[in-house]
Amino acid sequence: MTQTPSPAAGPTVGLFATCLVDLMRPVVGFASVKLLEDAGCQVFVPKAQTCCGQPTFNSGDVPDTADIARGVIENFEEFDYVVVPSGSCGGMIKHHYTEVFVDDPAWLARAEALSAKTYELISFLTDIMNVTSVPASFDGSITYHDSCSGLREMCVKEQPRALLTSIDGVTITEGEETETCCGFGGLFCVKYPDISEKMVDTKINDVIATGADTLLAGDLGCLMNIAGRIQRRGLDIKVRHTAEVLADMSDAPAIGEPLDKA
């Protein structure tokens, strides 16, 4: 823990920002830090973090995944909790590192220990830190996309809705297909672009039907896929990570919007 921790004396949290947030959308990282600090955590952002290993894991490359996973374990096992602003990368650390080390007892034990303290950001705030409301403001109509891994691996469903609706005036208009995959799937969307396009259009048509002007979700991969397709179709729907709204950082440009528009 070399960096200056946050001032609070709460549990230590290692923030695994995810490579997409790090590279493409830093505001989600800052929003995560703010939400965690407001909840009383001491937040650390290890500088040596890169990727969770999911692209290699889902491509069948177990040896490289194991190497990447060792790095994550070494960088994060000292904290009380590991928090990830993504159900997908969180799911990778929580559920799949143990699969990678199934024949390596020493690393398996460390992977299991890390798994036990790894959480997706929003559910960590509600379920572990007992956050019930956030001091934010938002004027816009919201619909929500349940990212697959967040929903099915990390059990994230009601938590973001509870925190979002704690904001004055915010209501969520649910689509019929909130739990349907958006067609991102990591490398899937570039390997099978036609199917991915069909899936993301199904998702977007469902979003349009809600009449909401903003789509929120907890995974940047899904969000970039949906936003990119919304913009390609010339639609005027803003796409953001849930944490941006909860941390009151929604004056930053939405995903894919130019900086000077803010």
Binding site: A17, C19, D22, L23, M24, R25, P26, V27, V28, F30, V33, E37, V45, A48, Q49, T50, C51, G53, P55, T56, N58, S59, G60, D61, V62, D64, T65, E99, C148, S149, R152, E153, T180, C181, G183, F184, G185, L187, F188, C189, K191, Y192, P193, D194, I195, E197, M199, V200, T202, M224, G228, R229, Q231, R232, A252, P253, E257, P258, L259, K261
Partner: protein, 484 residues
């Protein structure tokens, strides 16, 4: 059946551009999944039953040799015959042999995916024996010379107008101006055509939803009653089933029946559930004089103990297809072989080879929906990934994709190099991403062919954070000129 699986990408593209198919698939979304959810909600112990059903099949697979032998002994005791077949060809020859001994001219068939797997219709026809599908959906696709596009709803890819056209072409003896607008009219016409076939068939060939070891019984589940006419009316009944269909007891069969129809169609139980045991006994009024069971392996024993072992729990309910966003986008024919959807993507490479079917395990977002609705709790996403592991080890797939992945992994393992490389990349992208996103980008064509790519929103998070930006907004430092 010859596989079209290597053409998966083209098949999928064609399917997406096929409007009638898309209309048919659109109906699926609001049909079976909704009914399944309602049926599951009406039965509080549904999830407990799924656990029980899983445990039954796990136990069977652990003791498969024992139960198969018990089953065989019981079938023989009840007056039937059991034929062990290792390969599809063995099974075809065995069926032909039984038909020839029965001097059969026509064989009626109730729906059987195993009969599709071994392509027995064409084989029998090559030897001058007419095989007639009697399930309505199978009858339709047989007329159209198409494979099934769904394991329980073989003609789900067709509209009723397409079926009407097919019937007009096939049934030219009927009045050309007859009204075929309503599904009921189509059903009546097929029923009238099939009635005669049922009565005159020499052999009835059915599948089996289960084989019960303690009684030597095969279980048949249909909604049309066609299986009952197929197994009762002809002189010879052939049951074609794969070895993993075994369950130990009647009690076990009824447990699985309780999850089967609910998962498949949302029914509490299918309209007809039939238990057939041996040939007609002296005191029986009707039934076949001969009862044969053709037991097929066709690669399944190789799956036992492998990473695909649990796939052998599958009861072919079709729930994973009905809930799969890939299946719902492209339909069953795109998969290019007999099975489709997540179960097909796991099973097909086992049956026709990993190379031939290499697309199928990759054409998934691993969204996990299938596993949540599988009555047998088969970890389908994990097994799709296991195929990818095998492919990776065998160096299947494009060299470019492997190279890109290795390069990423190499960097991801070396934070000290990763950081400056990413800084460099982000700076370049940032230079050109002033409009917030890219319409096209070199090396990112797979992405930008269909969607814009959001440009990086400034310096990386890690850099900004470690340079002292604490809780600042994205891009704020950039705007203030702190970071270029």
């Amino acid at each position: 059946m010859e596989s079209m699986s290597p053409e998966f990408k083209n098949n999928a593209r064609g399917a997406i551009a096929n409007d009638p198919l898309q209309a048919a698939l659109g109906k699926l979304t609001h049909g079976f999944p909704k009914k399944r959810a309602e049926a599951a909600a009406r039965l509080p112990e549904f999830d407990d039953l799924r656990d029980l059903a899983r445990d039954i099949k796990d136990h069977v697979l652990e003791n498969l040799d024992l139960y198969l032998e018990t089953y065989e002994a019981k079938v023989i005791e009840m007056g039937g015959y059991v034929h062990w077949c290792s390969t599809a060809q063995d099974a075809r020859e065995t069926i032909l042999d039984i038909c020839r001994k029965a001097d059969a001219k026509t064989v009626t068939k109730s729906k059987s995916m195993i009969s599709e797997e071994i392509a027995v219709n064409r084989y029998l026809e090559d030897y001058g024996i007419e095989a007639i599908e009697t399930d309505l959906g199978e009858y339709i696709i047989q007329l159209r010379k198409e494979p099934p596009s769904h394991i329980i709803a073989p003609a789900i890819h067709l509209s009723k107008e397409q079926v009407a056209d097919t019937f007009r072409e096939a049934h030219q003896d009927l009045d050309a101006s007859r009204d075929l607008d309503e599904p009921r009219a189509l059903l009546e016409e097929a029923r009238a055509k099939l009635r005669d076939k049922f009565i005159h068939a020499d052999v009835g060939l059915t599948g089996a939803n289960m084989l019960i070891a303690e009684t030597g019984t095969n279980v048949l589940v249909t909604n049309e009653g066609n299986a009952d006419l197929t197994n009762n009316l002809p002189r010879v009944h052939i049951v074609l089933a794969s070895i993993e269909k075994i369950v130990p007891t009647l009690e076990d069969a009824s447990t699985i029946l309780r999850v089967l129809a609910r998962s498949a169609t949302g029914q509490e139980i299918s309209v007809y559930t039939t238990f057939c045991t041996g040939p007609k006994r002296p005191e029986d009024l009707d039934g076949p004089e001969e009862y044969h069971v053709v037991l097929l392996d066709n690669g399944r024993t190789d799956m036992i103990g492998s990473e695909f072992h649990e796939m052998l729990r599958c009861i072919r309910c079709g729930s994973c297809l009905n809930h799969c966003p890939i299946y719902k986008s492209v339909g069953g024919h795109a998969y290019g072989w007999v099975y489709s959807g997540p179960m097909g993507a796991v099973l097909i490479p086992n049956l026709i080879g990993m190379e031939e079917a290499q697309h199928l395990p990759n054409a998934s977002t691993l969204c996990g929906k299938c596993e949540t609705v599988c009555p047998m709790r088969i970890p389908l996403p994990r097994m799709l990934r296991k195929w990818r592991e095998r492919q990776y080890k065998s160096e299947l797939g494009s060299a470019k994709a492997r190279w890109s992945l290795s390069a990423w992994a190499w960097l991801a393992k070396r934070p000290a190099l990763y950081r400056p490389m990413m800084n460099f990349g982000i700076a370049i992208l940032g230079q050109f991403g002033g409009r917030g996103r890219f319409k096209s980008l070199p090396l990112a064509g797979g992405w930008t062919s269909k969607r814009d790519l959001a440009a990086p929103a400034g310096d990386t998070f890690i850099n900004q954070y470690h340079n002292g930006a604490r809780g600042d907004q994205s891009g704020e430092l950039m705007r203030r000129g702190v970071i270029k």
